[in-house]
């Protein structure tokens, strides 16, 4: 039997930012100690705006009071990148990979995550690509997925946010990632794909580009959409 490079996959479904962060941190700790294989968390957050460690608060265009009234949480985050919005209809992915087992190259990692999303979108007929100097995934000058990563001891955390059916009006509160370029979503681009199918495409592309075998974990509390689609 060939040696398997395994990545465990969990779809947490709807989970608060803080809750998902706690789960993520716990897994990162375990990953650093080599107790668990690579992990891929997929989650959908309620409305939340997060500011990266090197973000600029001036890219938040509303007061915290306004956000509170709009039902939007605000969080500081230790990921790279500037400010971003997460919310319902967005597919957020937190890959917790030990890059020593893949490639010790943080830029190659970010490029690979971009490629995963680009190839997953292609499965739904969306031609996405990169924009030189602007990390993320873009369609005709509009950003469909944002990327922000934190790395400690070559273990990655945070990740990407793909606008699937995101209500784009929530981006009005921020200058996404500090770049004054418009955002878009799969829905706006004319795709009516189901969340489960998009998640399945993403996991499939992750497995392809990072060359691991995906194991779905904990069906009860983190139902794998992949398994669901099959059954």
């Amino acid at each position: 039997m060939r040696e398997m490079h395994v990545c465990e996959f969990r779809d947490l479904g709807r989970a608060g930012y803080a809750e998902a962060l706690a789960i993520q941190k716990d897994l990162v700790g375990q990953r650093k100690r080599g107790l668990i294989p690579d992990q891929l968390l997929i989650v959908e957050h309620p409305h939340v705006i997060t500011l990266g460690r090197n973000g600029h608060r001036e890219n938040l265009l509303a007061s915290e009071e306004v956000l509170r009234r709009a039902g939007i949480e605000f969080h500081d985050s230790d990921r790279g990148g500037d400010i971003t919005y997460h919310g319902p209809g967005q597919i957020v992915g937190y890959p917790i990979f030990d890059l020593r087992e893949w490639k010790r190259d943080v830029v190659a990692y970010v490029r690979a995550v971009e490629l995963v999303i680009i190839d997953a979108l292609a499965e739904f007929g969306i031609q996405a690509g990169r924009l030189e100097g602007c990390t993320g995934v873009w369609v005709n000058g509009r950003k469909v997925a944002a990327i922000g990563v934190h790395i400690s001891r070559w273990v990655t955390s945070h990740g990407f946010a793909l606008n699937h059916k995101t209500d784009l009006k929530y981006f009005q509160y921020i200058v996404p990632c500090g770049i004054t370029k418009p955002v878009t979503s799969m829905e706006e681009l004319g795709s009516y794909a189901w969340r489960d199918d998009v998640v399945a495409a993403l996991t499939r592309q992750f497995a392809r580009h990072f060359q691991f075998d995906l194991l779905s974990r904990d069906r009860e509390d983190a139902v794998s959409s992949l398994t669901e689609t099959i059954s």
């Binding site: 941190k25 460690r53 830029v107 399945a200 904990d218 509390d221």
Partner: protein
């Protein structure tokens, strides 16, 4: 002193932005403890300290972008190590720090070597091949003058290198304090283009570091600091509520195939209620004799296959496939039969099913499913199907919405045959009824055609007259 350098975080990476010092000058740091953070292309990375000791000098301020291998700070090995450390360092050592017995191996390592390997996030492992070669000595990195804010244009970088200018001495007037060519020229004319040798360490040495250095780890490089304080426990952390098991090859194949099909075809399922009473009665009549004569029982399935095949003759598009923008009408009618295995399923094919009668079909079903379960099918016996039938009714399902077996365009699902009360000519009668579910590819087959086809199958079954024996 151990030099702390900007690490190379990937092959193509030539510089990094030091975003945050996690320790202040004069503070004690453990080997491998996060010392500073860098940012490259939306990735923030914590860099562990290459040595245990006191952060003596901070040479690159937060927010500055410097070339890889640039010395960003210096650590005075905290182990004290009076015996082997150079005299000046020992002299500066706070008296409160007694040299522990076991000296950190890195303390006696020559500085340039330490600079090469220690600032990597994972010290015990070797460098990426490219780096050692491209690694300039620490001094050269300094003179390179890259320790400057913002993105420098290649021209400015080149000029600074050629003229030996320490860019920290140059005031930038470009956007965001960026140094322009003009800035360099005016600086050079003011300085007479003389080489700036003095680097000017911004951080005054803090001789009386309050923190006593911790004893060096007893084993060389293996000691890592305890991982971060346990955060909020995961809800499922207490007991293993799940078991992890890799998928079998068959399961992987099934998974791929199912997803591929869902992605390929526009699945629609139509369900027709079918009165199987005539066939049920005939089956009842011949059951014993059939079993006696052939050695296996007579089921509903061969009737359904026979009906499906006959209906295909009327609606051949159900037996087609799609290639690009072409419709491929198959001349053969090869019916795939889904067979449940202990841990998966397989779809062996009854070739030229239109040439077989009910008895022949039943025999083929028994033969293929028996060999499928004992894994004795030949490869060509699971290939070449043009239409499939799945008999989930045998597991009690009334009706289901099967997934098309690619590259086919339709699959017929047979629900369980149950006796139910139905209204026949305004009277209530007991009838054996089954639901026939046809999943079809709406790209090729319109709903009306699908219903005409399924209606035809239903009609053949409901009006069955041919005796089997």
């Amino acid at each position: 002193m151990t030099d702390v350098v900007m690490p190379q975080m990937g092959e193509s990476i030539v510089e990094g932005t030091l975003t945050k010092w996690l320790k202040k000058a004069g503070e004690h740091v453990e080997r491998d403890e996060p010392l500073f953070e860098i940012s490259t292309d939306k990735v923030d990375t914590e860099i562990p300290s290459p040595a245990a000791g006191v952060l003596k000098e901070v040479l690159v301020e937060e927010g500055k972008t410097v070339a890889i291998s640039t010395v960003v700070g210096r650590i005075e090995e905290g182990a004290g190590n009076g015996a082997s450390a150079p005299a000046p360092a020992a002299a500066k050592q706070a008296p409160a720090a007694p040299p522990p017995a076991a000296a950190a191996p890195s303390a006696s390592t020559p500085a340039p070597k330490a600079a090469e390997s220690n600032a990597q996030p994972e010290p015990p492992v070797a460098e990426p091949p490219g780096q050692a070669a491209s690694q300039p000595p620490a001094a050269a990195a300094q003179a390179d003058g890259d320790s400057q804010t913002g993105a420098l244009s290649p021209l400015v970088r080149k000029m600074a290198r050629e003229y030996g200018i320490d860019l920290r001495q140059v005031k930038g007037t470009g956007g965001g304090g960026r140094i322009t060519k003009q800035d360099l020229e005016s600086y050079m004319s003011a300085q007479g283009a003389r080489t700036m040798a003095q680097a000017g360490a911004p951080a005054p040495p803090q001789a009386a570091a309050p923190a006593a250095p911790a004893p060096a780890p007893p084993t060389a490089s293996q000691t890592r600091p305890a991982s971060p304080a346990p955060s909020a426990p995961m809800p499922r952390a207490e007991a293993p509520r799940a078991r992890v098991e890799p998928m079998s090859t068959m399961r992987t194949k099934i998974a791929e195939h199912m997803i591929l099909s869902k992605r390929t075809s526009a699945h629609v399922t139509t369900v027709h209620k079918t009165d199987m009473t005539k066939i049920a009665k005939m089956r009842e009549r011949h059951k014993g004799e059939f079993q006696q004569r052939y050695g296996y029982s007579l089921t509903y399935l061969p009737f359904v296959i026979a009906a499906a095949v006959e209906a295909i003759r009327a609606y051949p598009i159900v037996n087609a496939s799609i290639e690009g923008n072409n419709i491929i009408y198959q001349n053969e009618i090869n019916i795939g039969i889904a067979v449940a295995l202990e841990n998966g399923l397989i779809v062996p094919v009854i070739r030229n099913a239109d040439e077989k009668n009910v008895t022949g079909l039943q025999r083929a079903i028994v033969d293929l499913s028996t060999r499928a379960r004992s894994r004795q099918l030949k490869p060509d016996e699971v290939q070449g199907g043009t239409f499939s039938i799945t008999n989930f009714g045998s597991f009690g399902s009334v009706f289901a919405t099967p997934i098309i077996n690619q590259p086919q365009v339709a699959i017929l699902g047979v629900g369980s045959v149950e006796k139910i009360p139905v209204v026949v000519d305004d009277a209530i009668a007991i009838r054996s009824v089954a639901y026939l579910a046809l999943t079809f590819d709406h790209r090729l087959i319109d709903g009306s055609v699908a219903d005409q086809y399924t209606g035809k199958v239903k009609s053949i079954l409901e009006n069955w007259s041919e005796e089997v024996l």
